[in-house]
């Protein structure tokens, strides 16, 4: 065979549109967009007006993402794997640029410390003072430790490699899932694109924490189980079921909430598919039951043997949020305030409100199409799409303080159903529509991207900025870190009472156990009142060996951005700590200031001196 025969004599003419969506153009646009996002961070770090850095941020993101989205949405066959991978990199970049070299988010401190402890002590399941439940879910720390040891990278860089791999894997899992259910390359690309627009995808799930590692496993379980249900070869089907259960086991040892969502979804699909096969076409329903059974066994074993504290850890979120929603329905004032004072520009908030509307329109369109062709899809596909509708009631839980966190975390799971709905709608043939599909689709992508990111994490999480007391991210200071390291070096892994922002540095960089104040253990009284601690509290502090108090004087200068310095039992909610409350620690016999910087002070407690009188004069 000669070269002249292998190729056409004249290559087909390249249209301008194809050239615009060529790989070099996509990569070039992505590179420019990433640099512009970096510029927006520079502006925010210098304290520029929020309207300026928000606008520059979205200029960069849209420059980068829209050409890639257009490539994925383009009609016709052809692999979209490159564009999907590029989308993964682009949705990872903003969080990576936010703090490329060290932890900054609350959960990142906990997981970074966990991986450091695993490597330092050579054992999994180490206690975690920031998020105690992390101890029982060693998947993230084990993988980070392995990557660090086998590659020679630092723990933080290894975590970033792990998160990037997991992030890309999410999109490919959704693409495979949609290809399995809708039998189309384009559907796979569109599903991955829409999943990549979910509210947690750009910032929350890209942080170095267990969700980001477990969610792709959740998605791969769905993809492999769906594939198994459609595989005629028995041997391959069994192998795929086994692979699904092993993947589910990976999720079980990595993250509790992902396990819970996985179990609920597998059970939901299995039940719906069993019941619905009387009316709809069905693939092998037994596969879903087999994977559910395997996952239940693994999860049950893990809960019973290792992670028995999980139930107690998760139950307040569910019970509390339902109670709060009921209270709100009864018009009490326990809820959160939507559109509360924020530096977020009004236009971004408006687009945030528009995002559920777009998803709603997609769902209505899917219902309309299914009404006309009710047997167009197998029942497990319908069940997964129905699961996507859970997105809408979850939005309600944003209003409840305890439910907001869970609602936000549910999006990463429910959006897989939304992605299938969108891919199904986009793949259906349209009859003589005058709407330019591509532009409508790109408009919807813009709304979902801007709106969902806007509805995710708040400004201090998204943008670097000048020091702002009471945020997890922008309250971090070198002083707190060096004090933590000095205290750990001189005193070892001691127990400390500190505000929850300084606590991040103390735990992460010092391995120090910081008290968690509660109604029964009101440790915050040491700093948040002008009185000596009660005898009862002093007894608890001495008995539990809480021998130090660390205070950051910036808590006296402004109220905490997050509303409190010591959690929900802080007696000074919404207020700055009076300076006199901190300074009085220099004038009591039971505390001595042993270390100080401009802002951070460390006091050694000697509560046996409580009630003694200090003399004056030398």
């Amino acid at each position: 065979m000669t070269a002249t025969l292998a190729r056409p004599a004249t290559p087909p003419p390249r249209t301008a549109r194809r050239a615009l969506l060529s790989w070099p153009v996509l990569v070039g646009a992505a590179a420019v967009g990433i640099v512009v996002v970096g510029l927006s961070y520079r502006l925010s770090a210098h304290g520029a007006a929020p309207s300026a850095y928000y606008a520059v941020f979205w200029l960069g993101m849209l420059t980068a993402v829209l050409p890639t989205a257009a490539r994925i949405l383009a009609p016709g066959a052809g692999s979209r794997a490159g564009a999907v991978a590029l989308l993964g990199v682009l949705t990872f970049a903003p969080k990576y640029l936010r703090n490329p070299f060290a932890p900054a988010y609350h959960d990142e401190y906990a997981h970074w410390r966990q991986a450091e402890d695993v490597l330092e002590l050579g054992k999994l399941l180490r206690p975690n003072f920031l998020i105690p439940i992390v101890q029982d879910y060693p998947g993230t720390s084990a993988l980070t430790a392995a990557i660090a040891r086998l590659s020679g990278l630092s723990v933080w860089s290894s975590g970033q490699v792990l998160e990037l791999a997991a992030h890309l894997s999410c999109l490919f899992a959704v693409a495979v899932l949609a290809r399995v259910h809708l039998r189309s390359e384009r559907a796979g690309g569109i599903a991955a694109l829409v999943y990549g627009l979910n509210p947690s995808f750009v910032y929350f799930d890209t942080q170095y924490a267990y969700e980001g590692v477990a969610i792709p496993l959740f998605l791969w379980v769905l993809a492999l189980t769906s594939l198994a249900a459609r595989t005629p070869s028995r041997r391959r089907r069994y192998a795929l079921v086994a692979a699904s259960v092993v993947t589910a086991a990976g999720a079980v040892v990595t993250h509790h909430l992902t396990t819970l969502f996985l179990l609920l979804l597998l059970a939901g699909v299995a039940v719906l598919a069993t019941v619905g096969r009387r009316w709809f076409p069905a693939e092998r329903v037994g596969v879903w039951w087999a994977v559910l059974g395997g996952t239940v066994l693994v999860a049950g074993g893990w809960l019973a043997g290792v992670a028995s504290a999980t139930v107690a850890y998760l139950s307040p979120y569910f019970g509390g949020s339902v109670t709060q929603l009921q209270a709100m329905a009864a018009k009490s004032d326990t809820g959160r305030v939507l559109l509360a004072p924020s530096v977020q520009p009004l236009w971004e908030r408006g687009i945030t409100a528009l995002a559920p509307v777009v998803v709603g329109l997609l769902a209505l369109r899917a219902l309309w199409l299914l009404r006309r062709h009710p047997r167009a899809l197998p029942v497990d596909t319908l069940a997964l799409m129905a699961y996507g509708l859970v997105y809408f009631p979850a939005v309600l839980f944003l209003l409840a303080p305890s439910g907001a966190e869970g609602a936000r975390r549910s999006w990463a799971f429910t959006y897989v159903g939304v992605a299938l709905i969108a891919a199904f709608v986009a793949e259906r043939p349209r009859r003589s529509t005058r709407l330019p599909f591509r532009w409508v689709a790109l408009g919807a992508v813009t709304v979902l991207l801007v709106g969902n990111v806007g509805g995710g994490l708040n400004d201090p999480y998204r943008f670097p900025g000048t020091f702002r007391w009471g945020t997890d991210t922008n309250s971090a200071s070198a002083q707190a870190r060096t004090v933590a390291e000095a205290l750990a070096r001189e005193a070892g892994p001691v127990r400390v009472v500190a505000d929850r922002y300084t606590a991040l540095a103390l735990i992460a960089y010092g391995g120090i156990d910081v008290a968690t104040p509660s109604v029964g253990f009101p440790a915050a009284q040491l700093v948040q009142t002008g009185n000596d601690p009660s005898r009862e509290l002093a007894g608890m502090l001495v008995g539990s060996r809480y021998d130090y108090v660390v205070v950051d004087l910036r808590m006296t200068q402004e109220p905490a951005f997050n509303g409190d310095n010591f959690g929900s039992t802080d007696p000074l909610q919404g207020r700055a700590t009076p300076r006199a409350y901190v300074d009085r620690l220099d004038a009591v016999p039971w505390a001595s200031r042993i270390l100080t910087t401009e802002h951070v002070r460390v006091y050694r407690l000697d509560l046996y001196q409580l009630g003694q009188t200090l003399r004056s004069g030398s």
Binding site: V27, V35, V37, L39, A45, A81, G82, L86, A93, L97, L124, L125, P138, A142, L143, A145, A146, R149, L150, S151, G152, A165, A166, S169, V176, R179, R183, S184, E185, G188, W220, L227, R230, S233, R234, R236, L240, A242, A243, T247, G250, V253, P464, A478, Q479, E490, A491, D547, D586, S592, R593, I594, T596, R604, D606, T613, L614, R615, G617, S618
Partner: protein, 294 residues
């Protein structure tokens, strides 16, 4: 069309030798990609089988959404490879090995070799039609066309090129961020007193010495000795003597620029009781409780 002919047995043995070699070599950057790659590829092969005997496509031409789907076969090995790595660490923990480089390397290598062997074993299983898919004695040869290798090479070049461009853009974006440098000092009481958790004991009118250090971060401390003041019970200390050393190099592990040790010696009050002592160095103050008793 020219082809490269691969013998599965030779390929398996070569890959196994590669795994053993990278695990045996001390700290090579190849360990991670080789171990994860081999484990993932083998596990995917174990689950999906080889493309040649795939018969699950919807029709003869379209493999999308089936076990022969190219995207599935390209991405599943990465996921299964990471799961194998996780399983390796958990295995080491179950065996009560210390989680360190040798343990992780050995466990990951063992898992990769085990999966490689299992994937190879799968090719010997009879197909569901009853025929032997492959046999140890007479294995079928796998031909890879040069067109395929050329296509894969081109795709790899595109990916590497894009990776380099995006990495450069990321580096530029990071460089745009200002790097804030906090310049401050940290004044600390000597650990022997600071960590005792009890008042400093002294007899009336006895000499009391407290030592301290000032550690500079973000920039060097002033070369001149800082002013030092001491109060006992709110009044100026009696017979105060101050010693301040010049700044010296700190322990590199602390990340500090310099460290300046110093001490104060003064007379304890003549009356018994508990007294607050405050030592002020420049504009920073630390303190202790002084217990005067006979």
């Amino acid at each position: 069309m020219s082809t490269v002919v691969l013998r599965p047995r030779v390929v398996t043995l070569t890959v196994a030798a590669l795994v053993v070699a990278v695990c045996a070599l001390p700290s090579t950057p190849l360990v991670l990609p080789v171990v994860v790659g081999v484990a993932g590829w083998s596990a995917a092969r174990l689950v999906l089988g080889s493309r040649a005997d795939a018969n699950d496509a919807v029709d003869g031409t379209d493999a999308v959404g089936g076990t022969d789907d190219g995207l599935l076969r390209a991405t599943l090995p990465v996921v299964l490879g990471m799961l194998a790595l996780l399983g390796s660490v958990l295995l080491a923990a179950v065996l009560r090995w210390r989680i360190d480089t040798p343990a992780i390397t050995v466990a990951a290598g063992m898992v990769a070799l085990g999966l490689l062997g299992a994937a190879r074993w799968r090719t010997f299983l009879p197909t569901e039609g009853g025929e032997s898919a492959d046999s140890a004695r007479r294995e079928s040869l796998h031909a890879v066309s040069r067109t395929t290798t050329h296509r894969i090479g081109k795709a790899c070049a595109r990916v590497v090129g894009a990776g380099l461009v995006l990495a450069a853009a990321t580096a530029v974006a990071i460089a745009l961020r200002p790097v804030p440098v906090e310049r401050y000092t940290q004044l600390a009481l000597a650990p022997a007193v600071a960590l005792a958790g009890a008042p400093v004991a002294a007899r009336p009118d006895a000499a009391v010495t407290l030592t301290w250090t000032v550690t500079g971060y973000g920039g060097p401390q002033d070369g001149q000795a800082p002013p030092v003041a001491v109060t006992v019970g709110g009044a100026a200390a009696r017979d105060l003597r101050v010693t301040v050393a010049p700044p010296s190099a700190p322990d590199p592990a602390t990340g500090a620029v310099d460290v300046r040790p110093g001490s104060v010696t003064f007379r304890a009050p003549t009356t018994e009781g508990l007294y607050p002592v405050h030592v002020t160095v420049a504009d920073a103050t630390i303190g202790a409780t002084l217990k005067v008793a006979r």
